[in-house]
Symmetry: C2
Subunit: 308 residues, 2 copies
């Protein structure tokens, strides 16, 4: 029996007492000085080496402290095949540390192409095996089918974009439909059957979650109403300006505090002023731990705030 | 001065007299017998070797005969980093033969992530350099900005999903908005300013095109009305059941026949009965050429049909 992603994720979050997901966004111009080598241009082979050294150091600090990490695949793809090899090793290292891996890929395609993506990342013999992936719903429900099937068989998770955190997210997602709903509400409603079907036996949380940005807390609350058992991946906390209270707006009471989501933070943790300018790796480690602990403490406070 | 993608594409299509785009979809269970080695499972290293040998043979048959080819990145990603290396070499080989490369990746993300994807495929020093890429608009217009900027600077092209060819495409794309338009019409309307801005000096055709499936000819005609200078990438011709006449529904009269689009065909050309079962490569070559010539002849007929 493979694990059930929804159960595995929520159980780890409960054990750790916070919903932080650390975003692994290797921004070439932000990588701390003590990890930089060569020109740091995408085309320079030394750049992939620097990125890997930096991410290994980060991943080793996450072990036992966060439930899940989210590598953003674009930053690996920009380094070409070499970058994809780094991604493969970083994902394996995270899983070796018992940190779940959510690949932020926002894939969306149909039929055999969707099967190709599912095989690439979610199948039990995937070359780059991860625990969950983000998906784009624009092509319609049939585009999700192959992912749902593979997720069910291999115990993986899916996070479908519903309401993203960027300023332009309203361009299409907020379009008002003739039946009075917005597009993002129509998307959420369509996800209800597969979400329900993928609920976990232990916690009731589904392996089909959604993305709802912290920058739009009212919309996040509405999405919760439509999808009571979907784990919400919340981007936009920290660097994009949303508070911890906004970030947990879609959460509901659970046995150990508010639950039902994971809150992503990348830049505030990876690229704090102190971490970027640390002159050696032991100073970097201190700075990194401080930023990580601060985010954990803030989110722990937020999930405990409505209890007792 | 870099080339202008819209001008380069339309000029080549005019010179060749047909709008065929050959889809490079290496479906592992369909690759012709004479190229198969090992188990053909995604995890077997011999599989990438088979895929590469097959695609090299295909690409060498396309030289001088088609304006553009469309590799589907999912089928390379499913082979892991090895597959991405094959993609890199296949794209370089196509461009060496003077065939434009349209990478079907359907990417869509925001800010620095979108910049990462643009750097990965469209920048002049991209590790996997292609001439154009497909994009998903769900995240909003700001998600297209970095791609538009890179496309303008490096002379590349973009094809944004508007109305896809799959049966479920209507789930969201056909949602009726409160102002009486459908979602896909709202998407097309929002694309008008960047489409206009990227028009080519020689032909007037834009480097920002759209995807509109051959399976929905009425919708394709409506999209043409909203975006008069967008080149339309038309999937769904052949294997998905649409006729050549349906496929050119969004085309308009030009100096050498109907123009303003490219029509993709993958399976009918790559996996004809005769090609799949050819017992050696010279028989395969005959079968492949026959399927390619048939598609070219059919589309040539369709673009000439409303002339004279």
């Amino acid at each position: 029996m493979p694990q059930h992603f929804g159960d595995a994720l929520v159980t780890r979050v409960r054990d750790l007492g916070h919903p932080l997901c650390v975003g692994l966004d290797p921004l070439l111009d932000q990588i701390p000085a003590c990890f930089r080598e060569g020109s740091m241009k995408p085309s320079d082979p030394a750049t992939a080496t620097s990125v890997e050294a930096f991410l290994i150091a980060v991943v080793d600090r996450l072990a036992g402290r966060v439930a899940i990490a989210k590598p953003q695949i674009a930053f690996f793809e920009q380094l070409g095949p070499r970058g994809v090899q780094v991604l493969e090793r970083i994902c394996a290292r995270l899983r070796g540390h018992d940190v779940l891996v959510l690949l932020d890929a926002k894939r969306g395609d149909i039929g055999s192409t969707a099967e190709g993506y599912a095989q690439a990342y979610l199948a039990s013999d995937a070359p780059i095996a991860v625990d969950a992936i983000t998906l784009n719903p624009y092509l319609g429900l049939d585009s999700l089918g192959p992912f749902v099937k593979t997720a069910r068989g291999a115990g993986r998770g899916l996070f479908v974009l519903v309401r993203t955190s960027n300023p332009g997210s309203g361009d299409f997602q907020d379009q008002l439909l003739s039946d009075g709903r917005t597009l993002y509400e129509a998307v959420a409603a369509k996800l209800a059957p597969p979400c329900d079907e993928l609920r976990g036996p232990a916690t009731g949380w589904s392996s089909l979650g959604v993305v709802a940005g912290a920058t739009w807390p009212e919309q996040a609350a509405r999405i919760r109403g439509l999808l009571p058992s979907a784990v919400v991946l919340v981007p936009g906390y920290g660097a994009q300006g949303a508070s911890a209270a906004d970030a947990v707006r879609s959460f509901v009471p659970g046995p150990k505090g508010l639950e039902g989501g994971i809150v992503n933070s990348a830049r505030a943790i990876l690229y704090s002023e102190a971490a970027r300018h640390a002159s050696n790796r032991s100073d970097w480690q201190i700075a990194f731990d401080r930023a990580l602990d601060a985010a954990i403490a803030e989110l722990r406070g937020a999930v405990l705030s409505r209890l007792g």
